[in-house]
């Protein structure tokens, strides 16, 4: 994909979406990759015994997916400076997590070209389950 430059972006612009299915294999990959082995994410009996309908996608995986959304958008020349999000709604196993972002502002900070974004994840019903904000540095032309 072509590099996106600071001059190309403006407030209100939406960045390309990222959809990631989170099946049991992905949640096990994540358990190993992150070191979070809490059983509500991969053991159905355990999850149901805590009152959940089924296993749920890890919050931190959704945070990392928002990082990937921004990394793939900003390309080799960009750099993600901050990703913050709240886990407001649960995402159930086997569902797609749709990651989205909209530019809320652009500014210069200590000689860097910085873009502020509103980011979030949506469940398949379009409900925002993980609202957040991000800061990304983009190269200049």
């Amino acid at each position: 994909m072509a590099q996106v430059y600071f001059e190309d972006v403006s407030e209100g612009q939406e960045i390309p979406k990222l959809a990631q299915n989170c099946d049991s294999q992905r949640l096990v990959f994540w358990a190993a990759g992150s070191g979070d082995y809490y059983q509500i994410h991969y053991d159905k009996d355990f999850a149901q015994n805590t009152g959940l309908p089924d296993r749920i996608t890890h919050g931190a995986l959704k945070h990392a997916l928002l990082g990937r959304l921004l990394d793939e958008w900003s390309g080799d020349g960009g750099r993600v400076l901050r990703v913050a999000c709240s886990y407001r709604g649960m995402d159930m196993i086997d569902k797609d997590v749709l990651c989205r972002g909209v530019i809320t502002g652009k500014r210069q900070e200590n000689g860097s070209n910085v873009v502020d974004l509103e980011v979030w994840t949506e469940d398949p019903d379009g409900k925002k389950t993980t609202p957040g904000t991000a800061v990304v540095e983009l190269p200049s032309k």
């Binding site: 990631q20 992905r26 990959f29 994540w30 190993a32 990759g33 992150s34 070191g35 805590t50 890890h58 919050g59 931190a60 995986l61 945070h63 990392a64 997916l65 990082g67 990937r68 921004l70 990394d71 793939e72 080799d76 750099r79 993600v80 400076l81 901050r82 990703v83 913050a84 999000c85 709240s86 886990y87 957040g132």
Partner: protein
């Protein structure tokens, strides 16, 4: 919170706010970076292959956003569980409330980070799931040169 309800926040817990833990070692290795990148669905080779990463100007395989190494935990030793997390909280269940990570410098495989955590706030709230205690923590990750490479702020909901 209602007036009648007793607070679960003790003076002892309050005294822990702002106290920095002893550092915990976090190792960033090739396999760790690859495993994390695969879990998140990355396909960019800088997260998997050293030659590609170096050709693109990185020091080594790059740690994907969110990966700040694995803590070195030796069974039977207290290290690895920062003091800030060892609070005497009567609620046994926990939910992850949110994550905020600021990245100051790129982290690569081979980096040995040291992490110090402090409790930054304790708040009580009544929610749909009953009484909750919101535990805010802040962890600073430093490299071998002592530079802060990332700050992670976490929110745990105990209920």
């Amino acid at each position: 919170m209602t007036q009648q309800q007793a607070s679960v926040i003790t003076d002892e817990m309050r005294e822990r706010i702002g106290v920095e833990s002893e550092p915990t070692a976090h190792e960033v290795d090739n396999t760790g970076c690859r495993q994390f990148a695969r879990a998140v669905g990355y396909t960019d080779a800088i997260y998997f292959d050293e030659a590609t990463a170096k050709a693109k100007g990185h020091r080594a395989i790059v740690a994907p956003y969110g990966f700040l190494g694995h803590p070195v935990v030796v069974p039977g030793q207290a290290a690895g569980v920062p003091e800030a997390f060892r609070l005497n909280i009567p609620y046994k269940r926990v939910l992850n409330g949110g994550t905020d990570i600021q990245y100051m410098a790129e982290v690569c495989a081979g980096d040995k980070l040291s992490a110090t955590t402090k409790l930054t706030d304790l708040t009580e709230r009544e929610g749909k799931i009953g009484p909750m205690l919101i535990v805010n923590t802040e962890t600073a990750f430093r490299n071998e040169k002592g530079e802060t490479v990332a700050i992670q702020r976490g929110t745990a909901i105990r209920y």
